[in-house]
C-alpha cells in the first residue's frame, strides 16, 4: 500500500486527539489552530530538510542557522540596545539573503568540498551556534517593531499560518508535479543513473541546500515575530526535531523516497505530543515522557523503513 506511512500517522494523530478529548472534551476545537501555529518553525524547515534528505544528503545545521538568523534579525531590527533599529522589511530582506547564501555555502561545502554532509553540517551546527553567541553577546534581545510582530501575532488572520501553508503547498508541487522535483528524487535514488540521464547532480544538490537556507530564514523571521524574544538558546535542538519529523514522515534517510504529506503529519504529531501531555495532567514528569516518546518514534520509523525496504523486491537494500 503506497500511503501506508501516512495512514499510520493519521491513526496516531487521531488516537492522541481522542486520548486528550477524554481529559478535556473541547481539546480539538480549542487547540487545533494553536498546535498548527506552534508547529510553524519545524514545519517550514522540515520542507527544506526533506528535499535535502531525498537527494541523499542531510542538513543538521538548521537549528543553529535559525538561531543565527534570528539573532541577525534581532540585531538589525530591535529598537532597543544593542539593536540597530533599521526598517523591519529591510531587515527581513537581509535575513532571507543571508539564510539563502549560508544554505548555498553549505551546499558548496558538500558538493565541491566533497565533505560528507553529516560532517559538514555538524561542523556548521557548532560554528553557527558560536557565531550566534558572539553576535548576541550573551543577553536576550527584545523590543521589535510592530510591523515585524504583526507577522506572528496578527490578531484575526494568522499570517504566519497562511505563509506556512503556502510553503508546504509549494514544496508539495515542486516535489510531485515539476521536472525539478523528479530530478531531486532521481539524484537521491540513483546518482549515477541520474548523471547518465543528463541531470546535474551538483546543481540539484546546491538548489536544495540553498532552499533549506531560505526556508530556515523564513522560519527565523516568523519565530521572532511570534515570540518577540531572541536569546543565545534560540533554535537549539531544532535540527534534531526537524530530522525526526522528516524521518518519521516516511522520508528514506538513504534518499530517493518520501512525500510531503507524511512529513506534514509527522510535524503535527510531534508538536501535539507536548500539548496532549500538558492536558493529561501527568505532572512534571511529562517532559521526560515526551523525550522518551519522541525517541521511540524515531526508532519505530527508522526500523519500519528498513523492514519495508527489505521486503520489497524492487527496494534498494
Amino acid at each position: 500500500m503506497k500511503y501506508r506511512r501516512e495512514a499510520s500517522l493519521i491513526v496516531l494523530v487521531g488516537a492522541l486527539s481522542f486520548l486528550a478529548t477524554l481529559f478535556d472534551a473541547s481539546f480539538v476545537p480549542a487547540n487545533a489552530i494553536d498546535i498548527l501555529i506552534n508547529s510553524i518553525p519545524t514545519m517550514i524547515i522540515s520542507c527544506g530538510v526533506m528535499l535535502v534528505i531525498i537527494t541523499g544528503e542531510i542538513d543538521i545545521s538548521v537549528g543553529s542557522l535559525l538561531g543565527l538568523l534570528a539573532a541577525t534579525l534581532a540585531l538589525l531590527s530591535s529598537t532597543a540596545e544593542p539593536g540597530l533599529g533599521i526598517h523591519p522589511y529591510l531587515a527581513i530582506a537581509i535575513v532571507l539573503t543571508v539564510g539563502t547564501l549560508i544554505g548555498l555555502g553549505t551546499g558548496c561545502l558538500v558538493v565541491y568540498g566533497r565533505v560528507p554532509s553529516i560532517i559538514a553540517t555538524l561542523g556548521l551546527l557548532i560554528a553557527l551556534d558560536g557565531a550566534q553567541d558572539w553576535l548576541m553577546g550573551g543577553g536576550d534581545i527584545k523590543h521589535f517593531p510592530q510591523e515585524l510582530r504583526y507577522l506572528g501575532t496578527g490578531t484575526t488572520i494568522p499570517i504566519n499560518l497562511i505563509l506556512t501553508i503556502l510553503v508546504v503547498a509549494g514544496t508539495g508541487l515542486l516535489c510531485h508535479k515539476t521536472a525539478l522535483g523528479r530530478r531531486i528524487y532521481a539524484v537521491g535514488s540513483n546518482p549515477s543513473a541520474a548523471r547518465l540521464a543528463g541531470i546535474s547532480v551538483t546543481t540539484t544538490k546546491l538548489f536544495v541546500f540553498a532552499l533549506t537556507g531560505m526556508l530556515t530564514a523564513i522560519a527565523a523571521i516568523l519565530w521572532v515575530a511570534k515570540l518577540g524574544n531572541v536569546s543565545t538558546s534560540t533554535g537549539a535542538g531544532l535540527e534534531l526535531k526537524v530530522v525526526t519529523c522528516v524521518v518519521v514522515g516516511g522520508v528514506s534517510i538513504r534518499g530517493g523516497r518520501g512525500r510531503i504529506l507524511g512529513v506534514v503529519l509527522a510535524v503535527i504529531l510531534i508538536t501535539m505530543i507536548r500539548t496532549v501531555l500538558n492536558f493529561m495532567d501527568l505532572g512534571s514528569e511529562a517532559v521526560k515522557w515526551q523525550r522518551a516518546i519522541e525517541g521511540v518514534m524515531i526508532l519505530v520509523a527508522v526500523t519500519s523503513d528498513h523492514f519495508t525496504q527489505r521486503n520489497q523486491p524492487g527496494g534498494k537494500s
Partner: protein, 342 residues
C-alpha cells in the same frame, strides 16, 4: 556596523590592558603581602561582560571604588559565559599580581585550579553573583538567598492578586527539570505558597531553554485551567514566554505573570499589564558591596567568623558563615521601572 566598531574598540582595549599588565609585572613579581600604604587592586570578573545586568553591577562597583580612595578597580570578563575564558583571565591577573580577584563563576569545577593557584600566590579570592567551590574562595557575596527569591516571588504574586486572601490557580514554568537554581527556588516557593491557602499550585512545567516550548506550555495552561490567575516564569526563557502567551491569549489583566528579570527586558510587559511586578535584587548594590567586601577582606578588617559588616552607603550587612548577604530583593513595577536602565 556598530558591532564592528565595538569589536575593534574591544580589541584595542584588550591590547591596552595587556600592555599595562606587562608594565605592572615588570615592576615586581612578588605579591604585596602587606599593602597598607599601597593601593588595593581589585579585579572584578563577571560571568560575561557587555550585558546590561553585569554592566549595572560594574557601575555600582565603580562607585564603591571611587568612594574608597585606596582601591583600584579592574573590570573585565569574557564576551560569552565561558568558564575557560574566565580561567585564562584569572591566570593572567595572578601573573600581574593583583590583590583581590572577585569572580562570578560560570563553572565551579572548571575554575577550581586557577582559583587555587591564585590563592597560593597570596591573592585574596572571593566570589559574587555565582559561587565557586567553597574551598577555592574566602567569602561569597550572595545577592539573594534562594529563600528570599522563592518567597519573594510568591509574596509578590499574592500581593498583586489581592493580598493574604488572594485566591485562584497558579502555575510555575521553570527551565529544565535539572536546573539547580530553579529547583532550589521552587522548593522555597512551595513552602511559601502554603501560607496562602487560597492559592492553588496546579502545574509545574519544564520547557527547557526552548522559547517555543515555554510559550506552548503557557498557552496550554491558560486553556486547561480557566481559573488560572498567576504564572511564575522562573527562567529568562519562560518569563517572557509566559507573558507573551498571556498577551496573545487576550488574558492581559486576568492572568498575572511574575519572575526574575532585569527591568529593561520585561519593561514592555510591565507597561502592557501582563506583568505587574518584576522581582530582582539591586544589581548596582551587588557590585558596590562586592568591592567594599573585597577591600575589607584584603586589609584584614573583615575576617572569617564575623557576623556583620558595614559597606558604605548600604550600612550593615549580615554575614552568614562565609556568605555576605546583600539582603532584600528589589521589585520593579510600572511606577519605578523607568528609573532603572539595565
Amino acid at each position: 556596523m556598530n558591532k564592528w566598531f565595538s569589536s575593534i574598540g574591544l580589541f584595542v582595549a584588550c591590547l591596552l590592558v595587556i600592555g599595562c599588565g606587562g608594565r605592572e609585572s615588570d615592576r615586581g613579581d612578588g605579591t604585596p603581602e602587606n599593602s597598607n600604604d599601597d593601593k588595593i587592586t581589585i579585579a572584578l570578573l563577571p560571568k560575561l561582560k557587555g550585558i546590561a545586568y553585569f554592566t549595572s553591577c560594574a557601575e555600582g562597583a565603580q562607585q564603591a571604588a571611587d568612594e574608597l580612595d585606596n582601591v583600584e578597580l579592574i573590570y573585565n570578563g569574557p564576551t560569552t559565559a565561558s568558564a575557560d575564558k574566565q580561567a585564562q583571565m584569572i591566570d593572567k591577573w595572578r601573573l600581574q599580581g593583583v590583590d583581590v580577584i572577585a569572580v562570578a563563576a560560570n563553572d565551579p569545577a572548571v575554575l577550581s585550579e586557577s582559583l587555587k593557584k591564585a590563592q597560593d600566590a597570596g591573592i585574596t579570592v572571593i566570589t559574587w553573583d555565582a559561587d565557586a567551590q567553597a574551598e577555592d574562595r574566602s567569602f561569597f557575596v550572595n545577592q539573594a538567598t534562594a529563600e528570599a527569591i522563592g518567597s519573594g516571588m510568591v509574596d509578590t504574586m499574592a500581593n498583586d492578586l489581592g493580598g493574604p486572601d488572594a485566591a485562584g490557580d497558579v502555575a510555575i514554568i521553570s527551565a529544565t527539570a535539572t536546573a539547580a537554581n530553579q529547583n532550589e527556588w521552587m522548593k522555597h516557593m512551595k513552602t511559601r505558597l502554603a501560607s496562602y491557602p487560597n492559592l492553588n499550585l496546579v502545574a509545574t512545567k519544564f520547557p527547557g531553554e526552548d522559547q517555543n516550548a515555554a510559550f506552548q506550555d503557557s498557552q496550554d495552561l491558560i486553556k486547561k485551567y480557566p481559573n488560572l490567575k498567576g504564572i511564575f516564569g522562573i527562567s529568562s526563557v519562560s518569563f517572557p514566554g509566559a507573558a507573551e502567551a498571556v498577551k496573545q491569549a487576550g488574558k492581559t489583566g486576568e492572568i498575572l505573570v511574575t519572575g526574575l528579570s532585569t527591568p529593561n527586558d520585561m519593561q514592555p510587559y510591565v507597561k502592557g499589564g501582563e506583568v505587574k511586578t518584576v522581582v530582582l535584587w539591586n544589581t548596582q548594590d551587588l557590585g558596590y558591596l562586592t568591592v567594599y567586601a573585597a577591600a575589607a577582606i584584603r586589609s584584614g578588617e573583615l575576617k572569617q567568623g564575623a557576623t556583620e559588616f558595614t559597606a558604605g552607603r548600604l550600612g550593615k550587612k549580615l554575614i552568614s558563615g562565609d556568605q555576605i548577604m546583600l539582603g532584600d530583593i528589589l521589585l520593579f513595577t510600572k511606577e519605578n521601572i523607568d528609573q532603572f536602565d539595565f
